[in-house]
Symmetry: D2
Subunit: 123 residues, 4 copies
């Protein structure tokens, strides 16, 4: 309840890092960059707009499958919960945006993909 769901379309901008929690739960994350496209009425054409960076975090089967499937630069669609985090880094207060992913897929408007079911893909 009161969750903020968001879908971003962009490109993988880092390698996918992978780890396990102390409890043995797989977790993966990568940086995602999304560039808006907007119609420029003066030029009469589509141009690049603002660029947005977020961190995508995934758990369990999704984490494992991301590691096997994604390469830096790949176009993806990411759907999940929006999280705005703040933390201290030395004396600095930092903030950043995460998407806690429920689903990630290669963006088929940019190419094709061959899918393979995980041996057990239901989390």
């Amino acid at each position: 309840m009161n969750e903020t769901l968001v879908t971003m379309v962009g490109n993988v901008a880092s390698v996918v890092s992978y780890a396990q929690t102390t409890g043995g739960v797989p977790v993966a994350n990568f940086r995602l960059v999304a560039t808006e496209r907007r119609y420029d009425r003066v030029k009469g054409e589509w141009v690049d707009g603002d660029t947005h960076w977020v961190t995508v975090v995934a758990w369990r089967w999704l984490a494992a499958n991301l590691v096997s499937s994604l390469s830096k630069g790949d176009p993806v669609v990411v759907s999940g919960r929006l999280r705005v985090r703040e933390w201290e880094e030395g004396e600095r207060r930092r903030s950043g945006v995460e998407i806690d992913a429920r689903s990630v897929g290669h963006d088929l408007s940019r190419g094709t993909s061959a899918f393979r079911w995980a041996v057990r893909g239901k989390s």
Copy 2:
């Protein structure tokens, strides 16, 4: 403006049909079924909830890539514009729901995918 964007996670429930408009624009569509999962507090476990059916429509490069990539049963994430259509069929008034897709991908929470850039994938 006033567009209604929606993201659905579900399974391809038909073959992908493909055609070209009289103007030569590729268009593809398929049926998507999404089953809600909800936590049953009495049973103490996740159970299936309602099932929803929509038609996904795609254009241009996305249409061509869907035909090459999707098989019936594949798990997918679909993001696009929601359209509620009404039409006459003989004496009957029918209505249905479409998603005019801007992005579709295999759902990597269910398996892995190998991506291949289209020769020209920017629509």
Copy 3:
């Protein structure tokens, strides 16, 4: 999980009907119409696009407050779960789209509103 959340901006297109379930739970519903606006490159101006109709359903406190607050024609923003329903009506098979609302508000891009907390507003 696998819920499909959607936000629509449009106008109230019916009176708000109100009832209670046999268990005494308040439920309200109304018709919502949303008209897309799109930029016409040839005309160089924004024009009306497709029109979409959905039924909005609300429960408990939200239901009660909708009855007190909404009039036909009011501009609103509605956020909730998308449901695609199919049913029989005599020999006819009908389908329609519902939003199971979690939040509804007057759209302040069209006017002003004076808010008043419900005596108990937390559902």
Copy 4:
């Protein structure tokens, strides 16, 4: 295209500040706080989850109407474009999240509202 639309339900956490650009365009902004609610299976009840802070920015008529309508603490639903911004502050690199609002309304799950059309409410 490639816009990231998001809807947040939360509370106004600041006064609404209002200004005009050098070109005379009204702009308003306020801080929004959203607290997730999640079902605690052990306790068997809904509990507060993470808290997220964002800045909401509005333009033109929406900006003017927000100033007239919103007070600190008011429950609202906000729909708009997600923007992740990074900037320098002295030696520090800061980032934050904005929603460029297309629609804002009082959340009627928490109380009632009386609406009044703006003399000219179409932006």
